[in-house]
């Protein structure tokens, strides 16, 4: 009886154990439901990784809110080679060798690709799913770049004003991963039907056949994370209209919804625990919340100094941690138990990206990108800065672009060496070695404009003051010399 009871407890805990393992396939926007964005790439043909960069800026398009140059990258293995795949605003999905940066294939779609692609591998076949803003979800063979199937989440009509598809995630209603889930937002600009609508669509992995479709209002949706709670597939996602939702992966039913959050720009993170799992989300008003994954009831909240646009990342362990970047120029490490602050790492710019966590290896670290145009690496245990690397200034002369989900870094270990991959807003996709002996000296950012703008501001202002004084003195002199009537 006792044995069967213990076995039952173990069986109940199995789903949590399964979710707590390291990310093995990049099947969600940030690799796994904990948003760790770090993966071991076991590829027989991988060469020793080195630093490389790939310019994908092409023609520079005018900036508009929501635009990004690169999507966040996805890492995977196909054809026994380590791959990095990222979408670009030039409507193309690029696949490069993650170790050398050698371009392997490119796949052109009908719209810009702002959503991170995801991988799927079931032992027999490998697939790559990319969601483009041409409203189409593409299933691609990652080894060759050939299209397997496509499905349009919204049929074409001439009045469509735009669409935005978030990153798909792989999952299934039961134990088997047999579906992908794609949040979408479309805008119909016809005079009679000027509406924005959003929802989630589930497609069969095998052939792209629609399984179900759930309308979820009119706010733009974040990517979804997929979690198995007690053997049942659940999707968690947020929306720009301030809702955080849990959907049943089997039929799209809303399990719970919280409506009092502010604009949520990136997917929440999930950490399994004995109480049913913790869901952590950040909002544009800077509040980080820990919620019961089962019910959406708030466990704790922490207020950062400014808006949070990236996803939190969660780290299991002796002291489970929440790592989240904020526009208050800090990366915050919080206790997952009660949201209390553990440490902070301060940068010179607002942290816009979701962090990537490298928990294993000799030097556990967290990677994040900030508006000081740097990729920062910080010690995961104490929050001490390890190094920073300049990743380039934006292609546009605008600096407060928090309306876009700029690409977040990802980390991959190739032949035992960790590499960071980041698609910068300067148009370049970079790979940077993270091992202590391979790090190149950080490129320093120029502050020439700070010095040049000094005379540009001071000289006209001082000249104007002199001119105004001169005019006033002349006017007074003229008034004094005019004889009173």
């Amino acid at each position: 009886m006792k044995l069967s009871g213990a076995l039952a407890v173990v069986a109940l805990l199995l789903p949590w154990r399964a979710a707590a393992t390291e990310c093995e396939i990049w099947s969600q926007s940030r690799c796994d439901a904990q948003n760790q964005a770090a993966i071991e790439l076991r590829a027989g043909q991988a060469t020793l990784p080195r630093a490389w960069s790939f310019d994908g800026s092409g023609r520079v398009w005018g900036y508009e809110p929501g635009l990004t140059v690169w999507s966040s990258p996805a890492l995977g293995v196909a054809g026994d080679r380590p791959l990095v795949v990222a979408g670009n605003y030039d409507h193309t999905l690029y696949c490069l060798d993650a170790a050398t940066g050698e371009p392997l294939w490119r796949f052109t779609t009908g719209g810009p690709i702002y959503a991170a692609p995801v991988f799927f591998h079931d032992g027999a076949r490998a697939m790559l799913f990319a969601a483009s803003n041409d409203r189409i979800v593409y299933a691609i063979d990652p080894a060759s770049g050939r299209q397997i199937w496509v499905h349009a989440v919204e049929d074409y009509r001439p009045t469509l004003g735009g669409a935005r598809l978030a990153s798909p995630c792989v999952g299934g209603a039961g134990d088997k991963d047999d579906a992908i889930f794609v949040p979408y937002w479309v805008w119909d600009r016809s005079l009679a039907n000027s509406t924005q609508s959003s929802g989630v669509m589930a497609l069969s992995i095998a052939d792209g056949r629609p399984l179900w479709r759930k309308a979820l209002g009119d706010g733009e949706l974040t990517a979804a994370i997929f979690v198995r709670l007690q053997g049942r597939g659940v999707l968690f996602l947020g929306s720009s209209s301030g809702n955080l939702m849990a959907l049943a992966a089997g039929n799209g039913d809303v399990l719970w919804q919280r409506a009092e959050l502010d604009c949520v720009r990136n997917p929440p993170a999930f950490l399994p625990d004995a109480a049913g799992g913790l869901l952590v989300t950040g909002s544009k008003f800077g509040t980080v919340r820990g919620l019961e994954a089962k019910s959406g009831v708030e466990r704790w909240q922490f207020r950062t100094g400014d808006r949070v646009t990236g996803s939190p990342a969660l780290l299991d362990g002796k002291t489970p941690k929440v790592l989240v970047g904020s526009y208050d120029r800090k990366l915050h490490a919080l206790s997952a138990a009660d949201g209390s602050p553990l440490w902070q790492d301060t940068t010179r710019g607002g942290v816009y990206s979701s962090p990537a966590l490298i928990a294993s290896g000799s030097e556990p670290m967290v990677l994040f990108a900030a508006w000081d145009h740097m990729l920062h690496a910080t010690d995961l245990a104490r929050g001490q800065p390890i190094f920073s690397a300049y990743t380039g200034a934006p292609l546009w002369n605008v600096a407060g672009m928090d309306d876009s989900n700029w690409a977040s870094p990802a980390a991959g270990r190739i032949r035992g060496r960790w590499m960071a991959f980041v698609g910068s807003y300067d148009g370049t996709l970079r790979a940077l070695p993270l091992e202590a002996d391979e790090r190149s000296a950080p490129e320093l950012r120029s502050n020439l404009w700070f010095w040049l703008s000094f005379p540009m501001f001071l000289l006209p202002a001082a000249g104007l003051a002199l001119l105004l004084t001169h005019r006033e003195r002349r006017r007074r002199a003229a008034a004094a010399s005019t004889p009173a009537r």
Binding site: R329, T346, D372, W449, F450, F457
Partner: protein, 354 residues
């Protein structure tokens, strides 16, 4: 379930504020602050002491309660940002527009009380002004203390900038330091007699245009005192605040006089505001106390420069003959329009530009 239990009436009031995520507390604090000023400024006894108390309360509210940027640059930038959100994100648009709109509305209805009673930058300058008034002064020129002070401050500021710049600690987004350098330069030129105080005040338009330009081109320039509103580390903002404090010991409220962009907006609106300080020339004994009591030199020989008045009521409180008073100009004009013009009505003394 919670929403189902709530009554329809509660829902109507609650829902628009839900997405403000608790920031309605800040909004309520600010509205309360304005309300407090409007009520208290009508007190005739110990008004200047009460004003100091209100400034202290506003400090607490700004530094510990308020989350959004209330710096003089930030309010312009946020207001413009809020305007761009109208039609797409109403709650957020309301959030960013609320404070500038409240200040504009209160200025039109009750005069520029924000500048004189609430603005934290102004309050900080009052502290340095208090020191300034206790420093030895030589009539008609710079005292040695003043000269040494301003030269030393300018030199220290330049050296610090060069050192921080050379160490690559300052970048173009730290351009609030440009305003600090400009303020020091203007104070030097005014004290040296190269430029005059009153005409140089038009530089506030230049400052406003510069902030407008940086806002529409999305260049980040944080306000002085901004470092204290959020938990951001902003050394440029802190250094600019220090310079403003320092400059206030050379020229009283020098930031408000020469460079405050929001001050220009409020000053412009004060021309149309309901309440205004007016002089009854028949009661004035030309003692000149009002001239010396005004920190921004908005009154000279009984002529009030409306666009520079900060509605601190100092002149009203110091006038022994009660020649200065706060007048409801709208009511006065309405009364004047409704009645046939008398042959010789006494006209309040005012600057032609007002």
């Amino acid at each position: 379930m919670q929403a189902e239990r709530a009554s329809t009436l509660a829902k109507v009031f609650n829902v628009p504020f839900l997405s403000l995520d608790g920031t309605s507390v800040e909004m309520a604090s600010l509205l309360f602050l304005f309300l407090m000023v409007i009520v208290i400024s009508n007190a005739n006894r110990h008004r200047q002491w009460i004003r100091r108390g209100v400034q202290l309360v506003s400090f607490v509210v700004f530094f510990y309660v308020v989350y959004s940027c209330l710096g003089v640059f930030g309010m312009i930038r946020n207001g413009l940002y809020g305007l761009t959100l109208v039609g797409s994100a109403y709650s957020e648009s309301f959030y960013w527009l609320a404070l500038p709109f409240v200040i504009i509305a209160v200025t039109l209805l009750h005069g520029p009380v924000f500048c004189g009673w609430i603005c934290p930058t102004g309050s900080l300058q009052d502290v340095s002004g208090w020191i300034r008034k206790r420093l030895p002064r030589r009539p008609g020129g710079l005292s040695r203390v003043e000269l040494a002070g301003i030269m030393g401050a300018s030199l220290a500021f330049i050296l610090l900038l060069v050192w921080l710049g050379a160490k690559k600690k300052l970048f173009v987004e730290d351009s609030s330091l440009h305003w600090a350098a400009m303020l020091l330069l203007l104070c030097c030129l005014v004290l040296a007699g190269v430029i005059d105080d009153i005409p140089s005040r038009r530089l506030r338009v230049f400052s406003l245009a510069a902030i407008f330009f940086t806002a529409v081109s999305h260049m980040v320039v944080t306000s002085p005192v901004h470092f204290a509103f959020t938990s951001r580390d902003d050394p440029a903002s802190a250094l600019t605040t220090l310079v403003i404090l320092l400059a206030g010991t050379f020229v009283l409220r020098s930031w408000c006089r020469y460079l405050c962009p929001w001050g220009h907006v409020v000053g412009f609106l004060h021309r149309f505001s309901r309440l205004r300080i007016l002089l009854d020339a028949s009661k004035c004994n030309r003692c000149g106390v009002c001239d010396t009591s005004c920190d921004v030199a908005a009154i000279e020989k009984g002529v009030i420069r409306v666009q520079h008045c900060q509605f601190c009521h100092s002149c009203v409180d110091h006038c022994a003959s009660s020649a200065l008073s706060v007048v409801d100009v709208w009511a006065m004009n309405a009364k004047r329009e409704s009645q046939p013009a008398p042959a010789e009505a006494p006209q309040p003394s005012e600057s032609p530009s007002a």
